[in-house]
């Protein structure tokens, strides 16, 4: 991408809008997918595109495009965005102030996943495939590997100019076992910020999910109802992302006084042991970055401190309208979308217990591990375990079919009564919001215990 800072600044010069910005993005990616014994897809892709966003009287115009436009074309796109913003704008623009920054950041991961030959990646996936397919009882598997690299250039009418680059590696492994019409699956989802080596030594885990898929064919289904549940760090990370993280994204409440009342800072959500943080400044995680997609520097954001709501995630607009400071959480999945409020690395801070302390005293409960998925309506959330066991008399007992858990966002955090000390960050998967998916994030937690969690079942 050869676009110069001058080109962008020139295109934004003298624009009649309250605020305007240009973002250009260059990306490359490769992927390999196996289904069963065979490669199903192998491909390489590249893209170059960008967008212009303009704000006039509280209304936004947004224009996205492929190709790198000529200087006069870029100005035309800026003008179109301004015309759209003018048509949409009917009130007052309020963006929270942010320092003007000029910085070019280059991230050089070692080794860059895109420079590793496809043959080497395939050789690794072949090993994983062999492990799964040689497990007795396995019908098929899906192994999906993808990596990518991207560089973004951002310039705003305020004079900020930021260049950032990042890479990403993701691997999903699914083992499928079948017995007649009964099909069971177990999966693994891992990722890293561009470090191929982090997915290169997963042979034991791949063996484990193969074994589990077969075992599930004979595992019983749990009876639906309320249980005390203990979640492992991976699943508890998904829980904190779904059950609370999305609720702290201010774009769903900044225009809504009714919701602001129920999300007032200082409100108690949980017991004193509960601390929840979103932190993009942690080094080397998939949700880490220095500046968000509005050029706002990131920081560590406490959302819950000692059980009390103390902060939330903001874009410049949500912060401006709520009279708070921007948190550095405006992110877009690609140049095809405007930035919206998103999480980065979200986690529950460790306390002092260990797993046995959490299990103690549970007569009949559920121990759930690993994740399958999760979603939220803001009031209600659901998330699903990759693996589950009954807890009987304080001990982990027989395996059961994986469970889907659900609860009320406002009530469930208050039902967490035990937090262990073994914080672990989960780097798999991606977050979806609206039509923007997947966005690299990470989440984590120590083991936690939740009383009265609603579990679906027979």
């Amino acid at each position: 991408m050869t676009a110069s800072r001058e080109l962008l600044e020139h295109a934004l010069k003298g624009v009649e809008a309250d605020y305007s910005e240009i973002r250009l993005e260059e990306a490359e990616a490769s992927n390999i997918r196996y289904r069963g014994q065979e490669v199903e897809e192998a491909g390489i892709s590249s893209s170059l595109g960008g967008n212009v966003r303009a704000l006039v009287k509280g209304g936004w115009g947004f224009v996205s495009f492929n190709d790198l436009p000529q200087p006069h074309e870029l100005r035309e796109k800026v003008d179109l965005a301004v015309r759209q913003a003018r048509l949409a704008g009917r009130e007052e623009s309020r963006l929270a102030p942010t320092p003007t920054v000029v910085e070019s950041l280059r991230e050089k991961p070692k080794p860059n996943p895109l420079t590793i030959p496809l043959a080497e990646k395939k050789a690794l996936l072949d090993q994983y495939k062999e492990i799964i397919m040689s497990t007795p009882g396995i019908t098929t598997s899906v192994i999906a590997y993808g990596d990518g690299w991207k560089r973004t250039v951002f310039a705003s009418s305020q004079g900020s100019y930021v260049e950032q680059a990042r890479s990403d590696v993701g691997l999903q492994v699914l083992a499928v076992a079948r017995d007649g019409g009964e099909v069971q699956q177990a999966s693994l989802s891992v990722g890293s910020r561009g470090d191929f080596l982090q997915i290169a030594h997963l042979h034991p885990q791949v063996r484990e999910i193969s074994r589990r898929a077969v075992e599930l064919l004979s595992a019983p289904r749990v009876k639906g109802g309320e249980y005390t549940v203990v979640l492992d760090p991976v699943l508890a990370g998904v829980f904190v992302h779904e059950a609370f993280g999305h609720l702290s994204e201010s774009d769903f409440l900044y225009e809504n006084p009714g919701l602001q009342e129920i999300m007032v800072l200082g409100k108690r959500f949980g017991e004193r042991i509960l601390n929840i943080v979103d932190d993009a400044t942690l080094p080397g995680l998939r949700g880490s970055y220095k500046y968000d997609d509005e050029g706002v520097p990131t920081r560590k954001n406490y959302l819950i401190r000692e059980g009390i709501l103390v902060g939330r995630l903001h874009s410049r607009e949500t912060a401006g309208k709520m009279g708070e400071s921007p948190s550095g959480n405006a992110r877009s999945a690609s140049y095809r979308f405007p930035p919206i409020v998103r999480m980065s690395n979200t986690f529950i801070e460790p306390d002092t217990a260990n797993l046995d302390d959490l299990l103690e005293g549970i007569e009949e409960g559920i121990y759930a591990r690993n994740w399958h998925g999760g979603t939220t309506s803001m009031e209600m959330f659901t998330f699903s375990a990759g693996e589950a066991f009954m807890i009987r008399n304080g001990k982990i007992a027989e395996p059961i079919r994986p469970v889907v858990l659900t609860g009320n966002v406002f009530a469930t955090l208050g039902l967490i009564d035990g937090i262990a000390r073994d914080l672990d960050m989960n780097q798999g998967g991606g977050c979806g919001k609206g039509d923007q998916y997947p966005l690299p994030v990470s989440n984590g937690s120590p083991h936690i215990r939740i009383r009265k969690c609603l579990v679906g079942g027979r």
């Binding site: 990616a29 893209s47 170059l48 913003a85 949409a88 019908t139 399958h372 998925g373 609603l454 579990v455």
Partner: protein, 433 residues
């Protein structure tokens, strides 16, 4: 440009294919009852597939630089063994999927549509907070392969979606619906009317009993519970690997005789219709279940070659990916009773409109388990109010066996599924307390 790319690829590959998609899309987005964003998106996608030494390679660019042919050829070294030839001709078709009026709809008119929908809902329920999107777009597809196949078509599409939230304390009621077509939207009455019906039925809260209960899935409820399991069950790739429970059941009874299902990309002006699929194979109506018997699966060229079958014209390229089999418009055949008639005969039951997170479990095996995001208690043959803190769980394959009743009054849901309501005589319901 695409001709030169093809001839460049042909120099080293035995077969090659170029796919080009150009998209223009405009969106008016409303947040909390007010117009917030106007957006324009243009994108241009160019994909090259090559067959070299019996293996397929794929490369794609959206405005990017680099040698697409070299990349596709490199990818072919690791790609899947090829089980097909590209079509030697692509039949022209008169299937209408383009309405020039759709493209002509101005920004002001789009804004007007959004304002009218929201206005009607607020008129019914002041205090409702609505997010809405009005979209119009056009898509131009061009396909060219080295065996002589060449064709292009243009498609227009429009859509409106609205979601309303009513907040009372920490209680949130979610209502909403969507509409889409290749025609521009003219009348939003049906859309607004549907959401107003939801608001009426959800006016009161009703306690929900637990245990096995008869459950009516409204058309939107059918989508929530069954769309992912159905999409996977008939996918040629999944079938070939034996991962679909229906894999060995072609010609056998797997469902109730009341259940009919087909895929149809030939319906005029439906947003998922197309004259031919993303490999140039003509679209057709593909029977999947006939009177409970598994009648077919969805194939693209590769999976058809592997299965010793014919492509069903089901190749679809989702953004950035090579073609794979996928349904276009799934249609469930209608029965005799409407949702109202089914409701009238239930002493006690649940009517489910939307499930949250139902598709996170073992969808390959047909399991669904979700929180009832919008659903109502039925008592004495009437809807008595909305239920909360309630979860339903089941398995699609067990649910669609004997005893299931497929109703009348089918409608499009999200432009991808045309379904009537379905009554499940006994479904597991869990609830708090």
């Amino acid at each position: 440009m695409i001709e030169s790319l093809l001839s460049r690829a042909k120099r080293e590959a035995q077969e090659a294919e170029v796919y080009e998609a150009t998209l223009e899309e405009t969106t008016a987005a409303f947040e909390t009852n007010r117009l917030k964003h106007l957006q324009t998106r243009s994108s241009h996608l160019l994909a090259l597939r090559v067959v070299k030494d019996g293996h397929t390679g794929h490369a794609l660019t959206m405005g990017g630089k680099g040698d697409l042919a070299a990349r596709a050829l490199e990818a072919s070294r690791f790609g899947p063994p090829t089980h097909f030839h590209f079509p030697q001709s692509i039949a022209s078709s008169s299937l209408p999927v383009y309405d020039p009026d759709g493209e002509r709809m101005g920004l002001e008119a789009m804004v007007g549509v959004g304002e009218e929908v929201i206005g009607r809902l607020l008129n019914h329920t002041p205090g409702l907070q609505c997010n809405a999107r009005v979209v119009r777009g056009s898509l131009h597809i061009r396909l060219l392969n080295s065996l002589g196949g060449e064709a292009s078509y243009r498609k227009s599409y429009s859509g409106v979606e609205v979601e309303g939230v009513l907040v009372r304390g920490t209680d949130m009621l979610f209502v909403g619906d969507s509409w889409s077509s290749c025609h521009p939207i003219k009348d939003i009455s049906a859309l607004a009317g549907e959401v107003i019906r939801q608001l009426e039925w959800a006016r009161q809260l009703a306690p929900c009993p637990r245990g096995p209960l008869p459950v009516i899935l409204s058309p939107r409820g059918v989508l929530s519970a069954f769309s992912q399991p159905l999409n996977l069950a008939f996918n040629g790739r999944v079938v070939l690997q034996g991962a679909s429970p229906l894999a060995q059941m072609r010609g056998e009874r797997a469902f109730s005789p009341a259940f009919d299902l087909w895929d149809d990309a030939t319906l005029p002006f439906q947003p998922h219709s197309r004259p031919w699929d993303d490999e140039g194979v003509p679209s057709r109506r593909v029977p999947l279940v006939e009177k409970g018997v598994v009648a077919g699966f969805l194939y693209d060229l590769q999976t058809a070659g592997q299965a010793g079958a014919e492509s069903t014209g089901s190749a679809t390229r989702s953004l950035g990916a090579p073609p794979s089999p996928s349904p276009s418009s799934l249609i469930i055949g209608e029965g005799t009773r409407t949702m109202e008639e089914m409701t009238k005969d239930l002493r006690e039951g649940l009517l489910v409109e939307q499930l949250l997170g139902a598709e996170q479990g073992n969808v390959l095996g047909g399991d669904f388990s979700g929180n009832v995001l919008l659903g109502y208690k039925i008592e004495g043959g009437e809807v008595v109010g909305r239920v909360k803190d309630t979860m339903v769980s089941g398995n699609m394959y067990s649910c669609l066996k004997e005893g299931v009743e497929v109703g009348r009054g089918a409608r499009w849901v999200d432009g991808a599924l045309y379904t009537p309501p379905i009554l499940l005589p006994s479904l597991s319901v869990s609830t708090r307390g």
